[in-house]
């Protein structure tokens, strides 16, 4: 069963519903009444172009995982234990050849010590930075918390070389793998490995594809504070490189200019990004932030992967607690805690089913480091087991602090 706010569909029903325009209307009516008119116009417009080829008009996939974690500063000290049962549902409806509707749900059941801390923690989980609050703490008790979040909810229309996407969506402008200063709409967090999808942005995105390997984009995003982020990007392919330039206005306060690239040097991939953030209020003040990062990666014949990446920031943030690394409102500007940061990772494909990874990060200004050994094992076609360790050691607010996070995860994909 797929649950939507306003209607419930059995798995067997959608195909029938989507076979007729009236059924289609009924469906959208339930999901989002306000959108009916707009969608209907678009649908009429595109109907003559409807593909004759029979393809599924509806798709549902996702995963269910259970993750046990423990957080502690030393083995002899107290442990904070937590379990998260996490279900993701990605629902897509192909309304016509040209129009797609998507709704992705993230359902999580938390139990453990963190939930018992109450509001500060559960409130953070129920937070939604978008213009529409679509994160609900459905049941919140002393010892458990059930949260449902809709982190994708969009309509997409593509016509000739144009594409317009309206709604909550992921806009990912990153070129490198660890830090993405170009990813101004929703930065990727390396440490938050259990949420690679990242929250969506409530935005309108217009894309134009001048050629098969280039793109021009315009995006307007609004957040819960009604702050606006708007930017344009142009990406093209030249000399074997993807090269991009972007310019915009972030969170109603900063001018943003950036560039990024991906290419290769022999068998090494060479990628990089740089972004300049300039708060307009005190322009030309001294609070501008420049983030530049570049890295090399290589995949070996046995599928082992080596990666290194360096980052420079003229104006790094103060890291007062390790929680900042996992912070939800993590932006492209908040990536650095040290003027220079270095990263290295090696994933050894020990067998086709077993990957062993060692990752490390160095923060010279904090006299600190991160070390992250992990293991991924494919138990069966759709079942994966992971063991992940994250260890931080750094000087924060004048004191040396350590923290360990251990995770055991079993994940079934469908």
């Amino acid at each position: 069963m797929v649950k939507f706010p306003g209607c419930t569909l059995k798995n067997t029903e959608p195909l029938r519903i989507f076979n007729s325009p009236t059924g289609y209307l009924k469906f959208t009516g339930n999901v989002c009444k306000k959108s009916i008119l707009i969608v209907w116009i678009i649908f009429l417009f595109c109907f003559p172009l409807h593909s004759q080829e029979k393809k599924k008009s509806i798709a549902l996939n996702g995963y269910v995982s259970t993750m046990q974690s423990a957080m502690f500063d030393s083995l002899s000290g107290p442990f904070l234990n937590e379990n998260i049962i996490h279900n993701r549902l990605n629902f897509k409806a192909y309304l016509s050849d040209k129009i797609t509707f998507a709704a992705d749900f993230r359902n999580r059941l938390f139990t453990g010590d963190m939930v018992r801390y109450g509001r500060p923690y559960t409130g953070m989980i129920g937070e939604d930075d978008g213009v529409v609050d679509m994160s609900w703490n459905i049941v919140e008790e002393q010892s458990f918390l059930l949260n449902t979040t809709i982190d994708r909810l969009w309509f997409d229309l593509h016509y000739t070389n144009f594409q317009i996407t309206l709604g909550r969506q992921r806009i990912n402008w990153g070129q490198t793998f660890v830090w993405n200063p170009n990813d101004i709409f929703n930065a990727y967090s390396y440490f938050d490995f259990d949420y690679v999808e990242r929250p969506g942005s409530d935005a309108v995105r217009l894309q134009f594809f001048p050629s098969s390997s280039s793109a021009a984009e315009l995006v307007l995003k609004v957040n819960s504070e009604y702050d606006i982020t708007t930017a344009g990007l142009y990406r093209f392919n030249r000399w074997g490189y993807d090269i991009q330039f972007l310019a915009g206005w972030m969170n109603s306060e900063e001018l943003v200019l950036g560039t990024g690239w991906s290419g290769s040097i022999g068998s090494l991939s060479f990628r990089g990004e740089g972004t300049w953030f300039e708060p307009v209020e005190d322009f030309p003040g001294d609070t501008s932030t420049i983030l530049i990062t570049s890295g090399l990666d290589r995949i070996f014949k046995d599928n082992s992967v080596a990666q290194i990446q360096l980052m420079y920031c003229n104006n790094p943030l103060d890291l007062s607690n390790f929680g900042s690394l996992y912070s939800r409102d993590f932006t492209a500007k908040d990536l650095a805690f040290s003027k220079f940061t270095a990263f290295g990772q090696f994933t050894w494909a020990a067998t086709p089913l077993l990957n062993l990874t060692l990752a490390a990060m160095w923060f010279p200004d904090l006299d600190g480091y991160f070390a992250g050994p992990s293991m991924d094992y494919s138990l069966s076609e759709n079942l994966d087991f992971s063991l992940i360790w994250q260890h931080f050691d750094a000087v924060m607010s004048g004191e040396r602090a350590k923290i360990n996070l251990g995770f055991l995860r079993l994940k079934f994909s469908f």
Binding site: K55, N61, Y63, N90, Y94, H158, N161, Q163, Q169, R170, I171, N172, G174, Q175, F177, Y188, V196, E197, R198, Q207, F209, S211, S212, S213, S214, A215, N237, G240, Y241, D242, S262, G263, S264, G266, S267, L268, S269, R271, D297, I299, K301, D302, N303, V305, T351, P352, L353, S378, E381, N382, D384, S413, F414
Partner: protein, 254 residues
Amino acid sequence: MKHRFYTLFFLIMQGLVSNTLFAQAITATDIVRKADEKFNGEKSSYSVMSMTIVRPEWQRTIEFKSWTLGREYALTLITAPAKEAGQTFLKRGSEMWSWNPSIGRLIKLPPSMMSQGWMGSDYTNDDILRESSVVKDYIHEIVGEESIGGRLCYKIKMTAREDASIVWGKQIRWIDKKDFLVLKAELYDEDGILVRTETSSDIKTMDGRTIPSKIELVPEEEPENKTLVGILDIKFNRPVEESFFSQQNMKIVR
């Protein structure tokens, strides 16, 4: 990075399947040339395939759809397993990209990615990359006729030319006389040692052509480690524009 699957579409792109497995011909070099021309000279193709890695204790299957235009353009969509489904790979000349829908990210791949293997598959990069030279890089000779699975075949010995930089020293191919199908191939290294045997079976008519729909690759040293390729659907020369092979379409195709 879901690098494991990058190889898949090179496999398609380099015409491995078409080249090795569906070849048709008349006389030694002609047989091989015809086969090569027939399948690499094709304008375009669309195929749905599965590839299964078989090991004594486990097996894993991947399924994908592929569109190709000449040798320059390819677009591959992974349809299974669930974890990887929806990822696409685009090749335009020597430029390659992957699209990962769950993170909404386009990733540029280095040209050297062509040389990656997949999950311990018995396909190696050289097989894939060098297959295109089956005509030019070998001296062909009909060495007899033998029956494979009840079908009479030309047995063709292919010896690598000295100046050719290819991984195989020698190949022996059994090509069906009636439908010109490569029903069996033995691949030998430069020292003349048998490395791998490929056999085709389950001959079907697909899109008007008689072709084997199952291919089994067995390495000589570890015969329990097999790779099975299944052709679930294939269409030849359907009109497809070069513009189909675009970054825009990577995100749309299904």
